[in-house]
């Protein structure tokens, strides 16, 4: 033991060996560390663990517990310290590596029983480790499935002796091994799991390494990793050590030197190809000996290079059968077959991991359609296996194939983990001389084969004008590719382009072999060379033509670089090309960015709309024009142009494009017809919505005239009879309300004059008013028709107001504006209290509890104001006012005696014909309705809008008093937005109060009706959207547009009930709409699930009690009563508005206890 160390250990005031060893690790030189390590090397030495930690764990509870080592910031010291343990246990590590490789092989081949036995042996010989934990989960998942994986996890987590860190790590390793968990999902979960405070950055770095690492640059966090790894067994520390060394070896000179200094200590001690690869990297002329495997491998490669693909495929499959961990041979096997156009042959055991790797690699290399699924599989598998060398092969392949930028680092990592006795290892050397040294060594062992010569050419001097010597044996197409790539490397881009341009055409046209992979490689090289030479127009054309040949060909190209170059320079020659906007549609997802290219291109042609290109179609290749029209001229891109005058214009343009494409391209007919159908349907829904919005006011004049004709005619006859008996000359009447005297002048005008109280009592006046029988008779007749006009359950105004406006619609329309922006809170109807608004409760997490409560209070106050206003609108304002009721009603149908008398004198006195009389009377009522509607619109647009506006402003002011703008940015943004939205919403409500004219929807199908209704309901309830399953089991029935409104009202009323009365939150409402037309009868069943308590209250029994009182013929009696289910109104709508003579409404529970409303009616005269 070194004297200084002994001094510190024994002669200090207190005996604290741990502290002394930590001092040794952190501050002493390597020689002293080494001397101490030799001294305490025996496991029985009492100080052994302070130097070597827990080397072999007897149980999982010994993992992650013993933290004796100190955290330093010196990577050199950390690696020095670690290397001493590894040297001490080199023999055991070598044995472990051998057995771990055997485990990997058997696992990949699906021999899970054998793999399990090997794992047990490893655990019995080397103890428990994080490595064994990973493999236990992996084996459980792949051999037995998820349940076994989780059972193994439970064993770890359930054992309270296990360290918490171990449990945490175990949970994520188990997750990582789940075969159905995608890599992306795993990484998201892990990110959430390790989202600790910044103070824990050392731990987070370690966990990221342990649980996420593959290809991560560890140089800056290596000391954090070694600190925590100090508490793991020797085999885990060894694997971490290798990973850190590899990361350092391919980093900058400083780290590379550290790695070199450390790894040479293990030369000849540990038998592991990874150590040999590192040594070979650092010492290129290090002597090595090629084993049989290496010789066979090189032979396969030579056959492949020389174009003997049958042989190379056969040999690769033989090597893979014994070495399924060598990813390079999966590649050679598939590529060989691709060159000779032979089908892929699965030679691995069915369902084995190796079989899956081969299958997914084949999909990617051959550019097959499901490549995304294959990418996901390989990427995830590389994460699950990352402790194994194969993982790096998979990951490198994934990065190379799936990501547009080339990752040299990852490729080098792969080389360090693969078999180094392979000519391609030469690529790892930055220096050509080092590559030559390595290749010379290899050549001296196996001879100078064509692969070796090819590698010499590739790694040769990058001097621009050096000749390129490639082995003659290489098949022509591949030779050309290599040649071009070498030109590119030398910076001779024009030479490369002159090789690549014809090559790409020949391969695409199958004149040269190579298939997808060669095509992709040539396109990649050509792309880079064009960019280097700023040949942007050629580059754009090449990208687009490759894309149109096979979109996968461009998936690896960094297209954004090309787009950036075009954006920066704005070259005119590019803008004139149709490929230019197509390129942008490939690269960009946002319509605005595609639009710029679209607009530049059309401008360069002197055009403003894409349909103008139809006459010039011959100037473009059909595939380019079709792609441009289909993918570039989408409705969203067109909407960025200012050459269209509205949505309809926009949709018409797109429909014309689809029609043109249908004629020109029969192969994608379905795509075009589906889009036309979708646009048409969207347009119809919009029209339907518009009709609903503008046609809520209706009075069925024809119905009133028809149903009341007999009685009215009788009254009119009596009126006429009285008219012949009485004179109205000198008649004077009194306006009792305002104490004015009205006098009829000689020329028939009514004028008003002040009246004294004495005069008022004059019996003459009384007599003149009361006893004018003709006027009294007229008034009775007038009021009779008026009452029918406003409150006839079948035909009158109030019935429509009730169904179309007051039945939740108005209140919800007002609320919906605020609900969409989360500004309104829900009310507990039992306590009348407003509940906490959950959206802001979570969104305002940074606001203090007190301030959050204050904001909630303001939101509750605001909600209360809005609801009170909506209630008043419903109950008091959107009501019909007469002389006796609803004094605040905005539909003012009260007529004073004097007013009526003036009308009588002006318009009716001379009428003798009943129909003329009725025309005149309805004229008065319609005129009054128009005045009422104007007043209501004015009220909504001004008074109501201002009232709500004031409430919003009040809310904003109060919120600003509580928190700053930055604390509640979203809330204040929503308040601002709702001010504009409110105007549209109120304008929309105002539009309801217009008299419905002819139908905007000329005709509709029942499917249209259901879509429009769902859209409308979901607009009204933005946070309670429902998505019923719809079934239409009949042929398409086209219904006359005049029935649209009543059908809509029926369906909306029933669906509204489902949302408001089911007792379930919207996401739990299961709704179904079944429409059938059988034997000329239309049946509609609307089903919805019910909350348990609601079901127990038996709503159907209650409904049946109410409805049994009313037969279909009497249906209108109950309509005006508000606050009910609305099903009475549905009956009325069927019987009256749809004029169904044989309609029925039933409700019941189905077998699954769903509430079902069933409508049935004859279909005659509904259809066109």
């Amino acid at each position: 033991m070194p004297a200084g160390f002994r001094q510190r250990l024994y002669n200090s005031k207190e005996f604290n060996p741990k502290k002394v060893f930590q001092d040794l690790q952190a501050y002493r030189d390597f020689n002293e560390m080494q001397a101490v390590a030799n001294y305490v090397a025996n496991p029985n030495n009492p100080f052994h663990r302070f130097m070597f930690g827990i080397t072999f764990a007897r149980a999982y509870n010994e993992l992650c517990t013993y933290r004796s080592f100190v955290l330093t910031d010196s990577l050199q010291k950390e690696l020095d310290w670690m290397s001493l343990s590894l040297v001490r246990y080199a023999k055991e590590i070598s044995q472990f590596v051998k057995q771990a490789n055997a485990f990997q092989k058997t696992f990949l081949l699906g021999s899970y029983q054998q793999a399990s036995e090997i794992l047990e042996t490893i655990i019995s010989e080397f103890g428990f480790s994080l490595w064994s934990l990973e493999k236990t989960f992996l084996l459980a998942e792949y051999a037995h499935g998820l349940e076994r994986n989780k059972k193994e996890l439970t064993n770890i987590i359930g054992d309270e002796k296990n360290d918490e860190l171990l449990k945490f790590i175990a949970e994520y390793i188990s997750l990582r091994c789940e075969s159905k968990m995608s890599d992306e999902n795993y990484r998201i979960r892990l990110s959430r799991g390790i989202d600790f405070d910044d103070d824990f950055f050392v731990l987070v770095n370690y966990l990221r390494y342990r649980l996420e690492q593959i290809g991560m640059d560890l140089t800056s966090v290596a000391t954090h990793i070694t600190y925590f790894e100090g508490s793991t067994p020797i085999i885990d520390r060894y694997l971490t050590f290798i990973t850190i060394l590899q990361s350092c070896a391919i980093a900058d000179q400083e780290y590379s030197e550290i790695a070199k200094n450390v790894v040479v200590r293990l030369d000849g001690l540990i038998e592991d190809l990874r150590i040999d690869s590192l040594l070979q990297l650092f010492i290129p002329d290090r002597e090595f000996e090629c084993n049989t495997l290496a010789v066979n491998m090189i032979e396969v490669l030579d056959n492949y290079t020389n174009g003997y693909y049958e042989i190379s495929a056969e040999m690769a499959s033989q090597i893979l059968t014994d070495n399924p961990e060598s990813y390079e041979f999966y590649y050679i096997y598939i590529r060989s077959l691709a060159h000779i156009g032979k089908a892929f042959n699965q030679f691995f055991p069915e369902d084995s991991v190796a079989a899956s790797i081969l299958e997914h690699s084949n999909v990617i290399i051959r550019g097959k359609r499901l490549y995304n699924r294959s990418f996901n599989y390989l990427s995830k598998l590389s994460t699950s296996l990352w402790r194994d060398p194969l993982a790096y092969g998979l990951f490198d392949f994934y990065v190379e194939e799936a990501l547009p930028s080339q990752e040299k680092r990852i490729h080098k990592l792969m080389l360090l983990n693969a078999h180094f006795l392979n000519p391609r290892f030469a690529i790892i050397y930055e220096d050509k001389n080092n590559a030559d040294k390595f290749l010379n060594q290899l050549s001296s062992q196996v001879g100078e084969g064509s692969t070796l010569s090819l590698m010499r050419a590739i790694t040769a001097s990058s001097h621009k004008f050096d000749d390129v010597q490639l082995p003659e044996e290489i098949p022509e197409a591949r030779r050309q590719i290599y040649l071009a790539e070498i030109y590119e490397k030398k910076g001779r881009f024009q030479s490369a382009i002159s090789v690549l341009q014809p090559l790409l055409i020949d391969i695409m046209e199958d004149k040269l072999p190579g298939g997808f992979y060669s095509c992709e490689r040539v396109a990649g090289a050509l792309f880079r060379c064009y960019l280097e030479r700023k040949q942007l127009a050629e580059c754009t054309d090449m990208v687009v033509s490759s894309f149109l040949q096979n979109d996968l060909l461009t998936k690896k190209l960094p297209l954004i670089q090309l787009v950036k170059s075009i954006d920066e320079t704005g070259p005119i020659d590019v803008m004139r090309k149709i490929s230019y906007p197509i390129l942008y549609s490939i690269v960009h997802t946002k319509p605005r960015e595609v639009y710029v290219a679209y607009d530049n291109f059309l401008n360069s042609m002197g055009l403003s709309r894409p349909t103008q290109l139809f006459d010039m179609a011959d100037e473009f290749s059909p595939s380019d024009l079709q792609e441009f029209l289909l993918k570039v001229c989408t409705i969203d891109v067109l909407s960025c142009s200012y050459h269209f005058n509205g949505t309809k214009d926009l949709e018409t343009e797109r429909i014309r494009i689809c029609q043109f494409l249908s004629e020109k391209d029969q192969t994608r007919l379905k795509i075009y017809s589906d889009e036309i159908s979708s646009i048409t349907s969207r347009s119809l829904i919009r029209e339907g919505m518009r009709q609903i919005e503008v046609s809520k006011i209706h009075v069925d004049e024809k119905g009133i005239r028809t149903t009341g004709r007999k009685l009215l005619e009788e009254s009119f006859a009596r009126y006429r009879e009285l008219a012949s008996m009485s004179s109205i000359k000198n008649m004077r009447v009194l306006n009792q309300e305002s104490l004015y005297l009205y006098i009829i002048t000689r020329d028939g005008k009514v004028i008003k004059a002040p009246i004294s109280t004495t005069e008022l009592k004059d019996p003459v006046f009384e007599k003149q008013i009361v006893h004018n029988a003709l006027f009294i008779n007229f008034r009775e007749l007038f009021m009779d028709v008026r009452d029918r006009f406003i409150s006839s359950g079948e035909h009158g105004l109030d019935g429509y107001l009730s169904v179309r406006i007051r039945h939740g619609v108005l209140q919800n329309q007002i609320r919906s504006t605020f609900e969409a922006l989360h500004l309104i809170s829900e009310k507990d109807t039992t306590t009348e209290e407003y509940l906490i608004n959950p959206y802001w409760d979570t969104r305002l997490e940074d606001v203090s509890v007190e301030n959050r409560a204050a904001i909630q209070e303001q939101l509750a106050n605001f909600s209360r104001d809005v609801d009170a206003l909506a209630q008043r609108l419903n109950k008091e304002l959107i009501q019909v006012k007469t002389e006796k009721k609803n004094t605040d009603g905005l539909f003012d149908y009260s007529f004073s005696t004097i007013e009526l008398y003036q009308i009588f004198v002006d318009e009716f006195l001379q009428i003798t014909d009943f129909d003329q009389f009725m025309d005149c009377l309805f004229g008065v009522l319609w005129t009054r309705l128009k005045i009422n509607l104007e007043n209501i619109q004015n009220y909504i647009s001004v008074e109501l809008k201002n009232t709500i506006y004031e409430s919003i402003s009040q809310l904003e002011r109060e919120i600003r008093k509580i928190v700053s703008q930055f604390q509640a940015a979203e809330l204040l943004q929503n308040i601002a937005r709702c001010q504009t939205n409110l105007q549209y919403s109120m304008d929309s409500v105002a539009q309801w109060f217009t008299i419905s004219g002819s139908s905007i929807v000329p005709q509709f199908t029942l499917e249209n009706l259901v879509s429009i209704c769902i859209e409308s309901i979901n607009n009204i309830y933005p946070h309670k959207k429902i998505y019923p399953e719809n079934y239409f089991s009949s042929e398409e029935v086209i219904i006359d547009g005049k029935f649209f409104a009543p059908f809509f009202d029926i369906l909306r009323t029933i669906m509204d009930n489902a949302i408001t009365h089911s007792g379930l939150p919207p996401e739990k409402i299961k709704a179904q709409i079944i429409v059938q037309v059988i034997d000329n009868r239309l049946t509609m069943q609307i089903k919805n699930s019910l909350e348990k308590q609601v079901r127990e209250s038996d709503p159907i029994a209650n409904l049946k009690t109410t409805h049994s009182l009313i037969e279909t013929a009497e249906v209108t009696g109950g309509i005006a009563k508000e606050g009910r289910s609305g099903l009475m109104k549905v009956r009325k709508l069927m019987a009256i508005d749809l004029q169904r003579k044989d309609s029925s409404l039933d409700f019941f529970y189905d077998n699954e206890e769903n509430f079902v409303v069933k409508l049935s009616m004859e279909i005659e005269e509904l259809c066109i």
Binding site: R592, V596, S639, C640, Y642, F644, N645, G646, T647, L650, R686, M689, R690, E693, V694, Y949, S953, E956, R957, Q965, A969, E970, L972, Q973, A976, R977, Q979, T980, Q983, Y984, Q991
Partner: protein, 150 residues
């Protein structure tokens, strides 16, 4: 002085117009209520000053037109188009919002102001934060218009 206001909120439009008339009695004000109608006017008429809202529908909303969609960055798109098409009209953004967009597109008014200043310095003159219950916006508007006269 020919002034174009592109604004879809009728109350705000009214108040801005009134304020401009207070500041400059001879102002000839033209109103547009959407991205499309605003762009069409900018491409066909030469204006001296543009007051631009940020969040606008694509088309003018009416009983027959639902506006297609409301884009929270329509104003920015208009500036982009003006810049691209060389339509040089001094422009001030007037907005009720302090933040724009959502998710990864979310940006504050200050960030937007900075971005617009950097990208469209030849036309973009600044931003006014409009709040109907405050009067500060009137002062800002006056300042911008006075600068225009200079």
């Amino acid at each position: 002085m020919k002034i174009l206001i592109i604004e879809d909120d009728s109350n705000k439009m009214q108040r801005i117009s009134n304020e401009i008339r207070e500041i400059k009695t001879d102002a000839l004000i033209t109103e547009a209520r959407s991205y499309q109608s605003g762009m069409q006017l900018l491409m066909s008429v030469k204006f001296d000053f543009l007051l631009l809202d940020m969040s606008l529908p694509i088309f003018d909303i009416s009983p027959e037109e639902d506006g297609f969609r409301v884009d929270p960055f329509s104003g920015r798109n208009i500036l982009g188009e003006m810049f691209r098409k060389d339509v040089i009209v001094p422009t001030v953004v007037i907005t009720m919002f302090e933040t724009f967009g959502d998710g990864s597109d979310l940006m504050t008014l200050d960030e937007l102001d900075k971005e617009l200043s950097e990208n469209y310095s030849s036309i973009y003159k600044g931003v006014i934060y409009y709040n109907s219950s405050e009067i500060n916006w009137k002062e800002s508007l006056k300042t911008f218009m006075e600068k225009m006269n200079d």
